[in-house]
């Protein structure tokens, strides 16, 4: 790791610039909506097909990506047939952790995530964010205390941002 300080925004920027198909979900999405919560990784949902995986690999190849959940933290390389049966990717990079999920647990696939997302404009391009009601649902489904806390803040934010 070239630096110990994560830079999650740069990970998102790279994904956008390399036209990776993804929707930001999880704590990073909650933070963008205004939840006062520090997250240590970026969770995204998108298709884990060869095309998207190739774009993802190109986007982060120079960041020494490796699999966080494997015993020896093997490097993320695209070998033939790698995408077959792949459901999630838990990656550690020089800029921080990136969790690339093929679906939203207990809610739906990546097409569902895309259908329940909103477009966000950033200086380097546009990217999709899971919408607040679906994010609340996802957090409640996971159900850990910290997720329920985030869901509570999201409900308050949702109320406050609705037209009177």
């Amino acid at each position: 790791m070239s630096s110990n300080i994560p830079n999650l925004e740069l990970i998102v920027e790279r994904l956008v610039q390399h036209e990776v198909d993804f929707v930001i979900i999880g704590g990073y999405a909650a933070m963008i909506y205004g939840v006062s919560y520090i997250t240590y990784d970026v969770d995204v949902c998108g298709p884990l097909d060869l095309g998207n995986l190739t774009r993802l690999h190109t986007a982060i190849a120079d960041l020494h990506p490796h699999h966080r959940m494997t015993p020896n933290e093997s490097p993320f390389v695209l070998s033939e047939g790698f995408e077959r049966g792949l459901r999630n990717l838990y990656l550690k990079t020089d800029l921080g952790q990136l969790y690339f999920l093929g679906s939203l647990p207990d809610l739906g696939d990546c097409a569902f995530a895309r259908d329940h997302s909103t477009l966000m404009k950033l200086p380097y391009g546009e990217c999709r964010l899971l919408d607040i009601p679906t994010l609340i649902h996802a957090k409640q489904t996971v159900g850990r205390p910290k997720d329920l806390h985030v869901a509570t803040e999201l409900r308050a934010i949702f109320d406050a941002t609705q037209p009177q």
């Binding site: 110990n4 300080i5 994560p6 950033l122 806390h149 803040e153 934010i157 406050a160 009177q164």
Partner: protein, 79 residues
Amino acid sequence: MIIITHSHGQPLDEPLHLPVPDTPAWREAEALGIDLPMLYDNIRMTPEQRIRNHAAALASVTALRAFYVQQYTKSGADR
């Protein structure tokens, strides 16, 4: 109607009065001890500002953690 008179990042010569919807969600958040003024400050920022603030907070927390680990390791080695 809850009136917030807290002001982070606002002109200091004028307290912030923001009407907040008195809904079950806000009451629940308040009951759980969530800092509603801070939440409201966050809402008023742009997504870019929130991302920038989060990056700064994450950098601080990471640096503090590294310092703590270094100190803990050092004091453990001294024992």
